[in-house]
Each structure stands twice: as structure tokens, then as C-alpha cells.
């Protein structure tokens, strides 16, 4: 049962991060496609903006993978968790799950606005990237807390 809680946490981290990123990348892609119809030479600039909200999906994936590693899932020495320990892992995954989902959506909004900058003032596209990247900080912080919490839980169990 404990293992199930832990896996549920990992699943949520990967899924919510992925959902956020998918929606985000899709949204920015739509705006970017509009700009490219007008001026195909801006493809490179808007592509970077489109990829920005995609990292949350990667971070969620990273957490799920680290969790599987920590639990040694699928190997002979897989950890056997109590409910309490399982819930600890579940909680450790939550910052990434929630932070990833919300920050991906918000980052997408900033990136869509940034696509507007690229369309009207392409010389300022660096600033558009920075605006969107500011949001990323909170995804990085969430990722970090999730990683550190997971490492600490594993070290107390083992």
C-alpha cells in the first residue's frame, strides 16, 4: 500500500507537469504559427519561446524517474514501504506536480505575450524570452524541493 502512495505521487508529478507543458507548448505554438505565417524568418525566435513551457513536463518526468530509482522499482531489492513512508514520498512529489502544472500554464501566457513582442519588435526578442523564463524559476524551485525531500526520505528509510 505504501508503495502505491509513492507511485501515485510520481505519476501525478509526471502527469501534471506533462499536462501543463502540453497545454502551454500548444498555446504558444498557436500564437507562434500566426507570426510565422506573416514572417517565416522569425521561426527560430518563436520556437525558443514555444519550448520554454515544455520544461515542466521534463521536470515532472525527472521526479517520477528519480522516485522509481529511489524505490528500486522492478528490481529484487525493491523497497517495501509503510503507509506513512509512502505518503512521505507522495508529499515529496507534490511541489513538482502542482508547481509544474501551474507554472507551465503561467509561463505559456508570458510566452504568448512574448510572441507578440517578436512579431512587432523582433530586435527585442531576447527580452521576451527573459519574461517567460522568469516564471521558470518557480518550477525549478519546486523541482529542487521535490528532489531534496525525496533524497532525505530515502536516506532515513535506508
Amino acid at each position: 500500500m505504501g508503495v502505491m502512495f509513492a507511485i501515485l505521487g510520481g505519476v501525478l508529478a509526471a502527469a501534471m507537469g506533462g499536462v501543463g507543458s502540453a497545454i502551454g507548448v500548444g498555446r504558444v505554438g498557436r500564437a507562434a504559427a500566426g507570426v510565422v505565417t506573416e514572417d517565416p524568418s522569425k521561426f527560430g525566435k518563436v520556437l525558443i519561446l514555444q519550448i520554454l513551457p515544455g520544461t515542466q513536463g521534463l521536470y515532472g518526468f525527472l521526479i517520477a524517474f528519480l522516485l522509481m530509482n529511489n524505490l528500486k522499482l522492478g528490481s529484487a531489492e525493491a523497497l517495501n514501504l509503510t503507509n506513512g513512508q509512502g505518503l512521505q514520498y507522495f508529499a515529496a512529489c507534490m511541489p513538482m506536480a502542482i508547481g509544474g502544472l501551474v507554472s507551465a500554464l503561467m509561463q505559456a501566457s508570458a510566452a504568448v505575450a512574448g510572441v507578440g513582442i517578436v512579431a512587432k519588435r523582433p530586435e527585442e526578442s531576447g527580452k521576451a524570452i527573459i519574461f517567460a523564463a522568469m516564471v521558470e524559476t518557480y518550477a525549478v524551485l519546486a523541482l529542487l524541493i521535490s528532489i531534496l525531500a525525496m533524497m532525505n526520505i530515502t536516506s532515513t528509510i535506508a
Binding site: L52, L62, L143, L144, I147
Partner: protein, 685 residues
């Protein structure tokens, strides 16, 4: 090694030579013109009309170029864009630009041929539609308007159903009298329409007509005067004549594509002229002289003046800019540093007070980039790719800076990747273990070498990390990330102090710089012990450091409010300053945790790729799967992480580093120059 010192230059020349002088300045490309003041007897030139006209010519040439590129694409190797532009001497340029009108007429030809091509395409489509309408009637050998002879009536039209001669007669017979004879002929029929010809005696015409109407008979909308075959053939002839025109125009465009290089030259030539006329607005003339003023980099000034005075009748004065002048900024750095100039330019050009951030920034840029990408394999690919572009193709201009930057970033990535033991993820230990059954490759190499090269073996005997593996020890890398962050931020603070000292604000430099650094240095060991657990920093050190932090805090409270008039204001602003310093620095330092996060991200996904590739049990299947998975997976991982790393390295520079000292708001130096795309004009020897 920094911002170039600018001088103001004023050139006065006689009108007869003014054109040559101006062209000369444009080729030199070292003077940025500003609007010369109007003085009695001097009036500005109005060249906007001419510039507009030249712009139209330029547009025609560019359109012509894009047309011939579409009809006769040029075959060139991918590497062509990396090679430099063909060089051409000044005299050759002038000679060729005499013939530019001829080239322009080719361009007009190309544009009008393109118009013919699109027009004929439209009319062919229109004619083909008309021909399609007449097609069902083609077997009718009388005109479609044929009404019959003196004694007979003919009906030519369509019925909205599929009839044969027989079915039509059967359908008609109940509708008309027994004695009424109708001769029907089906010209053509399809599923929902039949073209018919019906003939009857003139006396019965009304009866037959109403019977036909009952079946849905309709006259054709556009009946022919001649048998339909005649119109069909006529349209066919029109189509082939249009097609001939189309082909001729197309052939002409393709033939004119030979002039591609000439047209490219014309594009550059018109561009140069357009820029010239746009800039001539800044120049003042009297009846005899022309006056131009501009900024010139100091080290270029002497050479320029010498050349001007040798060749032309000119009077040149060189002065220092005033405080009020908006002097443009130009960087001049060694290639290692110059590579990051575009990054700074993307943020803002330095203001008058700012010092050039590039020399300090470049080192940090490469190192921070390396930690975040953190895979030696990817770094090696970058360095090799950029090295080839750099040394083999000798790229120039802005592209060279970008290539340089990624080259050094690649080298730094190899450095960090080797420290962290990541070469395309864990491919080395994994292959050693999966294919050769060696689980402790790191230990074995260490033993073979006779000294401990790979310290990562402490956590994992297969590790080839020279320092340690972040996945096994994230807290350690987190602490080091904060340490690198503190060093980076301190560099920013010190640059801020240097800037203030340059402005003779020594008290400001000491009060704003030193206390906050003391505070951070003092608190850091405490923070390290909280994150890394007790004993990360020895208690004897952290004990002492508390007092350093305290001293820093007291100094901040005492100095932050130094500009305030009364004692309460001083204290209040001082306390607020302490709060600001503490919270601001905390956020700034935490921000460097992305060094760990992004580094782990690259490494873990690379490991996943390798894991996926080695799932099967048999070695042959493993190898077969590993090769495609390895190539595809690592290309994708590298691409995604390159973009992420680039963005986050920029952010650390802009938001954390620049905030400590950099104002920005300057204007970059945009000299009058020959901004060409296809040729490079060289000065005559």
C-alpha cells in the same frame, strides 16, 4: 578592452568633392553621423525623396531575386553560408555600379514576366472552365442556337436526369399525342444530366415543348452560334496561345536567372545608395561647402583623418564629446570576451557611467553554461561543430561571435561533464557493464593509472566522475551551486564598486559593497549547515563567521541611510536596507539552484535514453536497439537542454548579475557603412 572612447569629428569639404568624400566615409564605415546644426548660410539637404526612389529600385531587385530563386533555384552546398562574401575592390565596384541601370531593366523584365506567368495561369484556368462547359455538346453538329427548319422545330437543351434515346422516348410518349412524332437524340449523358436534341414538326412544337418542360427541359445558358466544335477548338487555340505565353515568360525568367550575380550586386548597390541618401539628411551644405559631423572611435580617428586629408580637399576637426552629448557605445574585446557581446547587447547597451561587463561576464557565462548542460559528450559535439565552423570556414561578423560563444560554452561543458562523469549520460559504465560485464570500470581505470583519477567511485564503482556524480550527491552540488552563485554575485558587487570609484564616489563604493559581502560571507556557513546537515562547515569556522555576519548587518544599518537628513531617518532606512539586503540576496542565491536542477535534468534524461537502449537481454539485440535509441535520444535531449541552458544562463546574467551594477540604456554605434549582403567592398590599395 572595454568600451571604445568616442571622438566627435567634423568634416568640411568643397562641394565638388563632397560626393566622393561621402562615399569614402561610407566605405570606411567608422563614422556615425549626427544631425549637423543649421547655421547661417548652411542648410540641411533633403534627400528623403531620393532615398524613397532608391528604395523602390532596391525592392524591385529583391523581388526579381526572389522570383529567379523560385524558378531557377541555385544549387549550393550547405556550408556556403559559412564562407565569406566575395570581395571586390572599390574601383571595380564603382565601375560595375555604372552599369546598374541595365541590371535594373532585367529586374523589371523579370517582374513583368512573373506577372505574365501569373496572369496566364489565371486565364488558362478560366478558359479551361469554359471548355469544360462546352464539352458535353461537342458531338452536336448544328449550332446550339439552332431552332429548326421551315417545317420542323428543334429543341436543344438539357434534362436533369440520365436518359438514353429509348428511355427518353418512353418518358415522352405519355405526355404527347399518339400522332405527334418526335425524333430524339442524346448528345451526351451523365448521371444527373442529359444533353439532348429533339426534332418535331413545326405544328407540334408547342406540345412537344411543354412535354419536354414537364421532364425539366432547359435551354443551355450560353448557346453557340456555330456548332459547338468550333467554339471548343477556338478555346483550345486560346489556351495553347496562353500556355505558349506562359512558357515563354517562364523561359525568359529562367534565362535571366543567369544574371543572378549581377542582380545581387545591384541589390547591394541600391542598399548602399539608400543608406547613403537616408544619412545625407544629416548633412548641411552651403553654396560652396558641405559640413558633416559625427562620432568616430578614437583609435580609428587618426588614420581616417590622414586618409581624408591625403585624398581630398577637406578641413577636419576632432573634439571630445560634451557631457550632454548622447555618445554611441562600441565594444572592443578579444574574441574570447567579444563572443558574449551579443548577450549584453540583447539586454541593453551600457550607459555612459557603466563599465563594460563583458570581460567578467564571459568567464562566468561559459562556466555557468557548462554546469547546466553538464554533459561532456554534448559539450564535445558543440566544441567540434563550432570549431569546424570557426577554423575551417572562417565565419565572420555576428555569426562568428555566436560560433565563438558556443565553442567556449562547449569547452566549459566538457570540463564540467568530465568532473561529473557524464559522457552522453552513463554510456561508458553502462556499456562496460552490459556488454563486457565490468561493473567497476572507474575503479579499474584508477588502479591501472596508479592514482585516483575518478573520485566518483566512492559512491559507485563504475563512475568515471573526476569529482563526484550529482545524482548520487545532489545536496553537495546544491551547496556548490550556491557557492558559485555567491562568487558570481560578488563579482557583480565588485564591478559596481569599481564603477562608483571611477565616478569618485569612494564612500558609496565602500558602504554599498563591503557590508553586504560581509553579511553574506558570514551567513553562508550557517545556511550550508542547515541544507547539508550539521558539520558541513566546521563549527569553529561557522562560530567565527556569525560575528562577521553581525558586523556586516550593523554596518548596513549604519550606512544604508547615510543620505537621510535626521537620525531617525538614517536608522529607519538602515533597517530597511538590512531587510532588503537579506531578502534580496536570499532570493538571488537560491536562484542558482537551477545549476543543479538543469544539470540533473540533462544527466538523468541521458541516462534514461541509455537505459531504454539496453533493455533487451541478448547482447546482439541490445546493440541493435542501442544504436538508434542512442542517436535519436541524445539529439533530442541535447537540443532541448541547449535551449534551456542558454535561456537560464542569460537569466542568471541579466537578473542576478547585472542587477548588482549594470544600468544600461546606452545606444549602440551604428556607423554609416556599406551594409552588404552579397559582396564585400575592399578599399583600394
Amino acid at each position: 578592452m572595454a568600451k571604445v572612447k568616442m571622438k566627435k569629428i567634423e568634416v568640411v569639404t568643397v562641394l565638388e568633392e563632397s560626393k566622393k568624400v561621402f562615399d569614402f566615409l561610407q566605405v570606411q564605415g567608422v563614422v556615425e553621423l549626427f544631425n549637423s546644426e543649421e547655421k547661417p548660410g548652411l542648410s540641411p539637404l533633403t534627400t528623403a525623396q531620393t532615398a524613397l526612389q532608391v528604395d523602390k529600385y532596391l525592392d524591385t531587385c529583391l523581388t526579381a531575386l526572389s522570383i529567379i530563386d523560385r524558378y531557377a533555384p541555385e544549387k549550393k552546398p550547405i556550408t556556403a553560408s559559412l564562407r565569406g562574401l566575395p570581395e571586390i575592390s572599390m574601383s571595380e565596384y564603382l565601375e560595375k555600379s555604372e552599369k546598374i541601370d541595365k541590371t535594373l531593366s532585367y529586374c523589371y523584365d523579370i517582374c513583368s514576366c512573373e506577372k505574365t506567368v501569373s496572369d496566364t495561369k489565371v486565364s488558362v484556368a478560366r478558359l479551361e472552365a469554359a471548355r469544360k462547359l462546352i464539352e458535353p455538346w461537342i458531338d452536336l453538329d448544328v449550332p446550339m442556337r439552332y431552332k429548326g427548319t421551315d417545317t420542323t422545330a428543334a429543341f436543344i437543351g438539357t434534362l436533369p436526369a440520365d436518359y438514353t434515346k429509348q428511355t427518353l422516348e418512353t418518358a415522352l410518349s405519355p405526355l404527347i399525342g399518339e400522332d405527334v412524332g418526335v425524333e430524339c437524340e442524346i448528345i451526351s449523358n451523365s448521371r444527373d444530366r442529359s444533353c439532348i436534341f429533339a426534332l418535331c414538326a413545326k405544328d407540334n412544337s408547342e406540345e412537344v415543348f411543354s412535354a419536354l418542360r414537364t421532364l425539366g427541359f432547359a435551354y443551355p445558358s450560353d448557346a453557340t452560334k456555330h456548332p459547338p466544335r468550333v467554339r471548343f477548338d477556338r478555346i483550345g487555340a486560346q489556351i495553347s496561345s496562353e500556355e505558349e505565353k506562359f512558357q515563354k515568360a517562364k523561359d525568359k525568367i529562367i534565362a535571366l536567372a543567369e544574371k543572378r550575380d549581377e542582380i545581387r550586386f545591384a541589390c547591394d548597390c541600391f542598399k548602399i545608395r539608400r543608406d547613403k541618401y537616408a544619412q545625407l539628411e544629416n548633412v548641411c551644405v552651403s553654396d560652396f561647402v558641405m559640413v558633416m559631423g559625427g562620432y568616430v572611435p578614437e583609435q580609428k580617428a587618426e588614420d581616417l583623418i590622414k586618409k581624408l586629408e591625403n585624398r581630398f580637399t577637406v578641413a577636419v576637426t576632432l573634439t571630445n564629446p560634451d557631457e550632454t552629448d548622447s555618445v554611441p557605445v562600441l565594444f572592443e574585446n578579444k574574441p574570447f570576451v567579444a563572443a558574449v557581446e551579443p548577450i549584453t547587447e540583447m539586454y541593453a547597451m551600457p550607459s555612459k557611467q557603466d563599465i563594460d561587463p563583458n570581460p567578467v561576464m564571459s568567464v562566468f557565462y561559459y562556466l555557468l553554461f557548462g554546469i547546466m548542460l553538464s554533459d561532456a559528450g554534448y559539450g564535445l559535439l558543440m566544441a567540434i561543430g563550432c570549431g569546424i565552423a570557426k577554423f575551417k570556414f572562417k565565419v565572420t561578423g555576428k555569426l562568428k561571435k555566436t560560433v565563438d560563444m558556443y565553442f567556449w560554452c562547449g569547452i566549459a561543458t566538457v570540463f564540467w561533464g568530465a568532473l561529473f562523469g557524464s559522457w552522453f549520460g552513463d554510456i561508458v559504465p553502462r556499456v562496460a557493464q552490459q556488454f563486457f560485464g565490468v561493473a567497476d570500470i572507474g575503479v579499474r581505470i584508477n588502479t591501472a593509472l596508479g592514482f585516483e583519477l575518478f573520485h566518483g567511485v566512492a559512491d559507485n564503482p563504475g563512475s568515471i566522475a573526476i569529482w563526484f556524480e550529482p545524482v548520487n550527491n545532489p545536496t553537495k552540488l546544491l551547496l556548490y551551486s550556491f557557492l558559485f552563485g555567491i562568487i558570481h554575485l560578488f563579482a557583480g558587487v565588485i564591478l559596481g564598486m569599481v564603477k562608483m570609484i571611477k565616478q569618485k564616489n569612494i564612500i558609496g563604493a565602500l558602504c554599498d559593497g563591503i557590508p553586504v559581502m560581509l553579511l553574506v560571507v558570514g551567513i553562508a556557513p550557517l545556511g550550508a549547515n542547515i541544507i547539508g546537515g550539521e558539520g558541513t562547515v566546521d563549527a569553529s569556522i561557522s562560530g567565527v563567521m556569525i560575528w562577521v555576519a553581525l558586523a556586516g548587518a550593523v554596518l548596513i544599518v549604519l550606512t544604508a541611510g547615510r543620505d537621510s537628513k535626521n537620525i531617525i531617518g538614517k536608522l529607519g532606512i538602515g533597517l530597511y536596507g538590512l531587510y532588503n539586503a537579506a531578502s534580496g540576496w536570499m532570493g538571488d542565491i537560491l536562484s542558482y539552484s537551477r545549476l543543479l536542477a538543469l544539470g540533473l535534468c540533462t544527466g538523468v534524461i541521458a541516462t534514461v535514453v541509455n537505459t531504454l537502449g539496453t533493455i533487451p537481454d541478448s547482447k546482439a539485440a541490445k546493440l541493435g536497439l542501442l544504436v538508434p535509441v542512442f542517436i535519436f535520444g541524445h539529439i533530442v535531449n541535447m537540443a532541448i537542454n541547449l535551449i534551456g541552458t542558454y535561456v537560464h544562463t542569460n537569466r542568471l546574467q541579466y537578473v542576478e548579475f547585472f542587477a548588482k551594477f549594470y544600468e544600461g540604456g546606452g545606444r549602440s554605434f551604428t556607423p554609416l557603412k556599406t551594409d552588404t549582403k552579397y559582396i564585400k567592398i575592399m578599399e583600394d590599395k
